[in-house]
Symmetry: C2
Subunit: 329 residues, 2 copies
């Protein structure tokens, strides 16, 4: 992780939406001295109260326009469905020279919803930190959330390159590795690495909940057999994820079509007892897991056993896979 800045990168940072991601950005900005002052806005009274109690900002507003008025960097951290309305509302209050960015999981819809509302002289750098937990709300955030994770920026042809560069520095200071991508390609990549996995997880938890022959208490008791791995991501924020699927429809449907096609083929292999086809797939998938661990995006500790980890396997985890320790926000 980079050393704290000598002078803040930005004079004033406005965080709109102070949930898991927004509050983590506020904490990281403070910890790494990335903003001279921090203003936050949230439509929820409970969130505003928590943000104030946690000391996440210098000013807490109900109206997003009040938060952005003097801001040099505005971070939109609301669900995707709220982007158009928020952008229309804050547009007239933005200061000339300000940079607007965001953390949304889809980038084409964000450009469609936000860009038209920004006045000339304001730079727009859409962004997406690929990080999170299954918890929600201001108290769930922590400064180290972005450490070692990728942040994808998808500037448009209209984006001022200097603004993109400044945002890259912001995320690098938060410990992120920054990558540039076409918005359309971003939406395809995230459909397969994030959106479809979430949909499948939500779906199987729903299917299990609907069984008549197997009781819910049985599903819960024996979840250590594999099911519980799905419940973790199926516990993610419902509003956020509804909006992801509605706003990345094309890419999600395309990837889902492939997934279903492959699953039907696997189903057929089981029906006809084609053991070799199953064995070949199950062998191939192991290699990908190894690559993810080697890339530092996962630990090698046998977490499928949850905490009852073998000391041998635990100590075999490569140093690169060890995430940064959380620090007090």
């Amino acid at each position: 992780m980079a050393k704290p800045q000598q002078t803040p990168l930005f004079g004033r940072l406005a965080v709109i939406g102070i949930g898991l991601i927004g509050s983590s950005i506020a904490r990281a900005a403070r910890e790494h001295n990335l903003a001279g002052s921090i203003a936050v806005a949230d439509a929820s009274e409970a969130h505003r109260r928590q943000a104030a109690e946690l000391g996440l900002a210098d000013a807490v507003h109900a109206d997003a326009a009040d938060a952005v008025r003097d801001a040099d960097l505005v971070m939109l951290c609301v669900p995707l469905g709220a982007y158009a309305a928020v952008a229309a509302h804050i547009g007239p209050a933005l200061k000339p020279g300000a940079i607007v960015s965001d953390v949304g999981s889809c980038k084409q819809s964000v450009i469609r919803d936000v860009a038209p509302h920004l006045p000339a002289g304001v730079a727009f750098v859409p962004g997406h930190p690929v990080a999170g937990t299954e918890h929600s709300g201001p108290a769930a955030g922590f400064a180290a959330l972005f450490g070692g994770r990728w942040c994808i920026l998808t500037p448009t042809p209209d984006t001022d390159p200097a603004a993109t560069e400044k945002l890259r520095a912001f995320w690098a200071a938060c410990g992120s590795r920054v990558e540039m991508m076409e918005p359309r390609h971003h939406d395809l990549v995230l459909a397969i690495t994030s959106h479809v996995p979430h949909l499948i997880a939500y779906n199987i938890v729903g299917t299990a909940d609907d069984m008549e022959t197997v009781t819910q208490s049985e599903v819960i008791k024996y979840s250590a057999g594999g099911f519980r791995d799905f419940t973790r991501i199926a516990a993610s924020d419902p509003t956020m994820w509804r909006d992801v699927f509605l706003n990345n429809r094309e890419a999600v449907l395309e990837m889902l079509g492939r997934f279903t096609e492959d699953l039907i083929a696997l189903q057929r292999a089981i029906r006809w007892g084609e053991g070799d086809a199953l064995f070949d797939l199950f062998t191939r998938t192991r290699a990908i897991r190894r690559a993810i661990i080697d890339a530092g995006q996962e630990t090698a500790a046998p977490d499928f056993g949850r905490g009852a980890a073998s000391p041998t396997a635990g100590s075999a985890a490569p140093a690169a896979a060890k995430p940064a320790k959380p620090k007090a926000g």
Copy 2:
């Protein structure tokens, strides 16, 4: 966890197949003084060498018949596809009064494959500890693997109740919670809590691996968005899982049919922009996760963020969710 036995529950324990589960049983039996001596057998020369080096047993055999000859408890820990051949081979060598049990993930096929080969005077108590990690082999095992996990026994009408009781005591001493179940019901419950989740995980990792528009290195880099949760269980032992699907075909196909039906409905909701249907499902699934944590089958720490855990959320984990500490095998 129960205190170590004063006198061993069994004179001699034979473990056939010394992989993750078999070696964990050998370690747990030693740690809790459940057997006067331990013999293991494995068809793999490498496994036998490791078992000897790790000191997992008093005797290591290549021939399973040699291992079971004086055994009071025989634990079959081989892939399901090998059960019939192993049972036919060891049947004549079993000692009168011996108990044969197993750890297979399907129970109807085990009864079909094993029972016909056991001589009169030998009790058969099919069992299934619902525990595991994504690692394989003798070195991956550890004594605490079964702590706090459920072990399901599926005795048949022919099983001597005294033998079932002794096996219950064995698993309880390993720290497991023991449940009785009809074999057919077991196979249904595990199809939805374990087998279908594994199949789906294998499948999406395969789908992602086959993309042309998204590179494998992109899938790996951005896997923290959700995909990596699937790779963990998709790294499980290929032979074991091939045999699970071939031996629990009916129940897996039934559950898979329901899963696919639900997924198609969800796909349609996305296509038609039915946000309420998505939101309702995503809200319902959160409650199940909470119940699994409350049942002690999962921790509440935000592991979706992998290690970069918020101190607040971490300390909020209920004491019941904390798994037993691993001990040296």
